[in-house]
Symmetry: C2
Subunit: 337 residues, 2 copies
Amino acid sequence: MSASRPQRIALIGLGTIGISMAALHLSRDSNIVDVFDTRPDFEDYIFKMLPNYMGQIPSLSSKQNPDARPSTSLVTSLVSSGRLRIHSTLESACASATIIQEQGPENVDWKQSIWAQVEAVAPPSAHLWTSTSGIAASTQQLQMRNKTRLLVVHPFNPPNIMPLLEIVPARGTSPERVEFAREYFSISGSKHRPVVIRKEIPGFVGNRLAFALLREACYLVKEDVVDAKDLDTILMASLGPRWAGNGVFESYQQGGGEGGIRAFLEKLGETMQNVWDGQGRVNVLGDEGTEWKEKVIAQVDEAYGTLSAEQIQEKEARLKDFVRIQTKKYTPEGPEV
Amino acid sequence: MSASRPQRIALIGLGTIGISMAALHLSRDSNIVDVFDTRPDFEDYIFKMLPNYMGQIPSLSSKQNPDARPSTSLVTSLVSSGRLRIHSTLESACASATIIQEQGPENVDWKQSIWAQVEAVAPPSAHLWTSTSGIAASTQQLQMRNKTRLLVVHPFNPPNIMPLLEIVPARGTSPERVEFAREYFSISGSKHRPVVIRKEIPGFVGNRLAFALLREACYLVKEDVVDAKDLDTILMASLGPRWAGNGVFESYQQGGGEGGIRAFLEKLGETMQNVWDGQGRVNVLGDEGTEWKEKVIAQVDEAYGTLSAEQIQEKEARLKDFVRIQTKKYTPEGPEV
């Protein structure tokens, strides 16, 4: 079945990511979304939380104000129309699904157990997606009989705004199921940008890049080259806006002028190798190389404290603007309205 | 003398960075800018190139359209009013300077030689700044008698848009001269954000962070985890916009919820350490670990080719928008106009 046709999606685990995913799937007017979670107040929780996310994902087929925040009446109408179905058993949630997606705990035993249970109750054709940020599909599916169905669909926080979805199949995942997931998130009108990762690797690609930069950042704070807040200022005043508009390879292709990235690597090669040879090798676990942690935590706490709801809202508004500008067209006469 | 008072700036070396710096200094209506370069067509070159940059840096004291591109008549008027002075000798360019800034070749011998010459002809009070991206002030000043005057002022490309200036003193640079540079670029109305780096280190901070991420990016392409263009998409669809609005430490402080970055490091610690233990150790110089280069260069060439002038203009317009949004205020009712 084509991924652009209406789907029936069963969501397992409705934490922050799960609720946001529900909003995303419901933004397509013909989808039906079945939700299941073991929390005792599950129904009340859905009525309370879902409206906060629905407003942030505009319907793909209507021109409603994307900043309006719908009330619980929207959830009532979704439930009464049958587009949103709240379940008290895994079996009933999965029974008619074309897609089953889990956002449960990041725990190997839990993931392996849930997929074995899902396999026993779900239609054999259903696509199986995990939102994990760290546990590969090949590990999660160890207790399953059919090892061609499961793949990672890793969103970035907050998934209702961040365009990226990393699609990471196991070695045995069928190519048709990979393509189905990619097609589903590429649907016309979607703001999301799915990318297929070719090999399973810890942290996938986005977090590997982020953690590589973070490691050097922690090292520079540890060595008193710069404090945490000034390092953040440096990132925001240079690499952040650069990488919001250009990838790292594209930036250096441009930076090398007519010679492209080859010229750039030649011109900057000596400084680059010096930096690479001297990179920080701090650790986050274990006894050695972890002395930076208390210093970094103290500096970050002092710089930012706990962000208020208003601060987070302001940051989300700004993030939406950044993402909007990424697809804006500029004419030679000036920006389009 | 206070950095907020009118300055007389001698610029040595008028390549892309130098021209852009001239535009930046001239945007303050009371500054006088003296320029010196050894290229034979220097005067024609200034008349031809400077207008391309002047329009992009709005005057701090007038409300001209920042997207308008002034013509050579602006350069004529700057020259006839004495605000811009084109010199054929280093001595005459430096004679009355309060600030002397070089953007010459990234070559140790050239830098050491030019500062020894400058010291012989410049007023003893003049501030000495180098725009180098790789040669520390302590190395550049080896042939100078007074080692308290020179410091690095490292801009990011394109410096007329990018807010960051890394101010990197040598160990012996006087604190007053560091503070003067910081104050100069922090002047009210300036879009620039100077940050003082506390220790000399190869690549300073911005390029160390960029190269740490680049190294992992090259490794992931080498290992066929992802191709260069998909890696760029991943960066633009997640970390770029995140780091345009939040620093890396602030992002993880927020990501940890009420527990802040401490909770984040605990929750993600295992994945993070796995990523750190498996980080790519590719090299850019030497014989070992450089096999990625031709693969990356070929993929980047195929993905982007040579960027056209129109593409670069569009990218600069977008970059300006990103930087503008960084300082925009959002009200609870929606974005301010």
